[in-house]
Amino acid sequence: MLNLIVATQTEARPLIAHFHLQAANLGSAFPLYHKDDLRLIISGIGKIAAAAATAYLFGLAPENLAAWLNVGIAGHGQAEIGQALLIHKIVEHSSGRTHYPAIAFAPACPTTTAITVERPEEEYPEPCAYEMEACGFWPTANLFSTAELVHCLKIVSDNKENSIKTLNKQRVEALIAQHLDLVENLVQLLSATAAQLAQRRHPPLHFDHFLKRWHFTATQRHQLQRLLAHWQALSPERSFTEDQLKDLHTGRDILSFLRHQLADLSLDLCSTSSI
């Protein structure tokens, strides 16, 4: 699952078209689009709106290991118009608070610091991206996901030589459209990483089946999960036969059975399975 947070309809339009997203039929507080495991929400401008939309999107379908990507335009004190920049540090201009997205991959574009401002910047004093959502979006998304899965991508739309006042909707759309391949690559990379992490947290094989078939107390459920997880790590290719299970009637019987099965395993770290 990947969630795209975009401030305006104008910025969102090329993304919606590229990913063939459909409008969600909800009476939602924010315009929402989706297809398969990709969702896009239009937050409105500003850090509070971005934070609210992020939390709202999470609440619709809580999934702790979703990836999150904020895409939008930004001014910059140095970069050229049209340059795509991944954000490696976010500074809230009003408070000085900082956040550090964890870029655990080789970025396909340069990176920069983003300064989140309350109003559009017209002086660009620092060689940084000036934008209005990141410090609302990022810490909120980081509540729901690990830092490696929460990122901001900004496309430079204005700088000292090209005033923000000259921007119009067509130019903004064109700036985003220029970098759809980059967005697509990021979406794929982050989605794959999120899936990888989700696999780590997946209940072990047979867990649901055992829970349905026998009764376990809460403590026994934890023990069952641990024993099955160990079994999965040590002997993933082996399953349990009906013959082994047919005379087991209680959760306690099952736990005892699993402990004996595990104790009978030998361990060979150097091969791909245990004996």
Partner: protein
């Protein structure tokens, strides 16, 4: 090697910072106030970061020296450790660092001189006792030497304090700073060793055992005190064959009479660290087999731990004198009830 380098603003102008940065001209510099902003924050994933760790340059404050736990010495009652660096270049599956730290980024504390001041102060306080100072607890002492110049920077200090001993714990073969310096009798290069086949699976990125033996033999020939650290002992079903072969290979290359010390340690993890590691690597066989919790520590079950310890001790004592043998104490090494 590093795409991103975080730098505490307080150390931006340190000469050592500039030297390190010069080695990575293409890296992006990200200033921060304190390294903990990046390193200690919640909601980050060690295993993901391990795929592409960043470097963090910082200044160590507060307690630069810590007392080693009782019983972990190699000949003295005054034992300390210090960490000029957090996290390791290597990725050993049994390593407690991934359960202890939230981040896999490598932190280098560039204020080496402050560490030396702390060491010097402790040496004075030791009077006639012989303090031992261990490095390589939170990192590998030599693996990142080409970047940090840690050992090269401390050689003169070690030489100027012959009344203290210093251990460099490592799996690296980057022994250049030692090759370029006359051997110091108070500086021990201590190599961690695991049987070859087990090392190939569990010690990702680490030089092969044979290469480590070559490095050790070279140092021994030059007169450097060399130590062996069989720690942690790793179980598998035919561990006796593996460890017997390892010891035979080691003592075919090294002169046991010229060794400084040999230690043996159990595989043991504080409960919370084990729990974190297990969450990060639920498919890791090492963390799923034969373990038990006792007194807040997770380790092999008592009978297994005792058996391994006894076997390895007996095997080692066929080669070495008991005077240089320092098995680490462990609460698991009690006779099974």
């Amino acid at each position: 090697m590093f795409d991103f380098i975080y730098i505490e603003e307080a150390v931006l102008q340190y000469a050592r910072t500039r030297e390190i940065l010069a080695r990575f001209p293409n890296a992006t510099h990200i200033p921060c106030q304190r390294y903990g902003e990046v390193f200690n924050r919640k909601a980050q994933d060690f295993r993901l970061q391990k795929q592409k760790p960043a470097l963090i340059l910082a200044r160590k404050h507060g307690n630069l020296l810590l007392e080693a736990p009782p019983g972990y010495g190699i000949g003295s009652q005054r034992n300390f450790y210090f960490s000029h660096m957090l996290n390791c270049l290597y990725d050993c599956r049994y390593c407690f660092l991934q359960g202890m730290y939230r981040s896999a980024h490598m932190v280098v504390f560039v204020n080496f001189e402050d560490f030396q001041d702390a060491l010097a102060k402790e040496i004075v306080q030791a009077n006639d006792d012989t303090p031992y100072f261990f490095t390589g607890y939170d990192c590998d002492s030599l693996a990142l030497e080409s970047i940090t110049n840690f050992v090269a920077s401390f050689m003169d200090f070690f030489a100027a304090h012959p009344q203290a001993f210093f251990e460099l714990r490592t799996k690296s073969v980057n022994i250049k700073p030692l090759l370029h310096h006359p051997p110091l009798p108070n500086c021990i290069a201590a190599f961690s060793m695991t049987p070859s086949d087990i090392a190939k699976v569990l010690e990702v990125g680490v030089p092969p055992v044979d290469s480590r033996l070559d490095a050790m033999a070279k140092l021994q020939t030059l007169g450097w005190p060399v130590g062996l650290r069989f720690d942690p002992l790793i179980y598998q079903s035919n561990y006796r064959d593996h460890y017997r072969a390892l010891f035979a290979a080691v003592f075919a290359r090294l002169d046991p009479d010229q060794l400084h010390s040999v230690s043996l340690g159990q595989f043991r993890l504080p409960r919370q660290i084990y729990k974190t590691m297990y969450q990060l690597m639920p498919d890791e066989k090492l963390l799923a087999y034969g373990l038990d919790e006792k007194a807040g520590m997770v380790s092999y079950k008592s009978d297994l731990a005792l058996e391994m310890h006894t076997f390895c001790s007996e095997e080692l004592l066929r080669y070495i004198s008991p005077q240089i043998f320092f098995p680490c104490p462990s609460t698991t090494l009690e006779s099974p009830s």
